[in-house]
């Protein structure tokens, strides 16, 4: 039970699109945004998010909830734009009629007819003068609570066998399918963080202990593991874990 975004370990994907220079050497230089519309889709998503009508977990979940055919066919920033559009409508920042009106103008090249309008900025709108300050603050997810972690470093734990989100069928979670029902060891405890499984559905932040859990490659991939020595580490919230009986 999962969605297409949860692709860790999946078979069938080809070579990594590693950029190479003229001498066929791997290059680290690549434009930040390949096309102007990539930059715009990204910046609009950040700016609309700053209106405060949704949180990071909600916006992630909207991208995950795109219909499977769209999720597969859309490029990265197309997914961002589609999810943003759905959010704008669901959160009533934009009406479907308005959207259709602008879309049809875009299609017949008449978007400029809207451009002479007197624009009155909404009181929530993110202003350029505040950009650096807001980026510098970020959006910390650690919360001060008096919750003590149940598990100790070195404890052997087993992850939930099914999607841990019990409130919503097909709901948001950050336990990937490839690590469900697997035994790992608590590597570290990282304070209490906002719980995405609740926060993505507007059920509150519900901060809970977050651990880094180490899994042996062979525990996840069996005999297909490339090396018995390798390991994979995931950051997992307490409800994803139980003490392993053996």
């Amino acid at each position: 039970m999962s969605r297409l975004h949860d692709m860790g370990g999946r078979f069938g994907d080809g070579s990594i699109p590693v950029p190479r220079d003229n001498d066929n050497e791997v290059t680290n230089s690549e434009p930040t945004f390949k096309y102007e519309w990539h930059a715009k889709a990204w910046a609009i998503t950040l700016a609309a998010g700053a209106l405060g009508e949704w949180n990071l977990d909600i916006s992630r979940h909207y991208r995950e909830c795109l219909p499977p055919k769209d999720y597969i066919n859309f490029s990265y920033y197309e997914k961002w734009l589609a999810a943003l559009t759905n959010l704008l409508i669901d959160k009533k920042l934009v009406s479907l009629d308005e959207l259709k009106e602008y879309v049809s103008a875009a299609k017949n090249g008449s978007l400029t007819k809207f451009s002479n309008k007197d624009i009155k900025l909404d009181h929530r709108t993110w202003l350029a003068k505040d950009v650096q300050k807001t980026l510098g603050w970020g959006g910390p997810s650690i919360r001060d609570t008096n919750l003590n972690p149940v598990f100790d470093i070195g404890d052997k734990v087993i992850t939930q066998n099914y999607s841990p989100n019990k409130d919503v069928s097909g709901g948001h979670t950050r336990l990937p399918k490839y690590a469900m029902g697997r035994v790992g060891v608590i590597h570290s405890y990282n304070n209490n963080h906002v719980f995405p499984d609740k926060n993505a559905h507007g059920f509150g932040e519900n901060p809970l202990p977050l651990y880094t859990v180490e899994f042996k490659s062979s525990e996840l991939w069996g005999e297909l593991a490339e090396s018995q020595n390798d390991s994979i580490l995931l950051d997992l919230w307490e409800p994803y874990l139980k003490l392993s009986p053996n």
Binding site: D6, M7, G8, D13, I16, P17, V18, T32, F33, W37, W42, A43, I44, A47, A48, C65, P67, Y76, E78, L81, A82, A83, L84, N86, L88, D90, L93, L96, Y102, V103, A105, I119, L121, T125, L127, A128, V131, L135, G138, S141, K166, D167, V168, S169, G170, H172, R174, L175, P176, Y178, N190, H193, T212, E226, S227, I232, L233, D235, L236, W237
Partner: protein, 213 residues
Amino acid sequence: MSEKKNITDDHHHSHDHAHSHLPSDPELRVKAVETLLLNKGLIDSQTLDELIDTYENRIGPKNGAKVVAKAWVDLEYKKRLLNDATSAIRELSYQGRQGENMVVVENTTETHNVIVCTLCSCYPWPVLGIPPTWYKSDEYRSRTVREPRKVLLEFGLSLDPKVQIKVWDSTAEIRYLVLPMRPKGTENMDESKLAELVTRNSMIGTGLPKEIK
């Protein structure tokens, strides 16, 4: 009465996916949404310019390279970096969005670390900027946790079978940065020269720092 279970998550927006009304050309799609939000006063064009300029010109892997170079020359700084990366990175004024909780993992002769986000594209923005296309690709996201050695080979990186690979899947709000090993023969180089050797890929674990010729 029990709480409402079985709320299906797609219920409230799948009956009419607003995004299906968008034009097929992505450029037009963005233009339509952008113009609409601008005219409603919900976004400001100067803010968009400021954001794009910030990540195209000011925040990127050069920041991370300075952190790494400092750790190579200053053992006390390296200790602080491995112990509390968020604070140590803030000493260089790099902080904030998508870097609120930093962890730095050190490559040694025994261990090689690689960073991935299988569920989306989590990446430490204040030190590396916006992720490159390959980091966001399905291929990297699906394969790195299962066959990291094959993936690294595609980046031209062949690791000794005795070296342990640790793959860090960023499933929460912790953001990882790899501290690569300092290249041999760089004993006389200063911090700023060393920083020029630190590549972006070496801080994700899909590459090594440049060697000196």
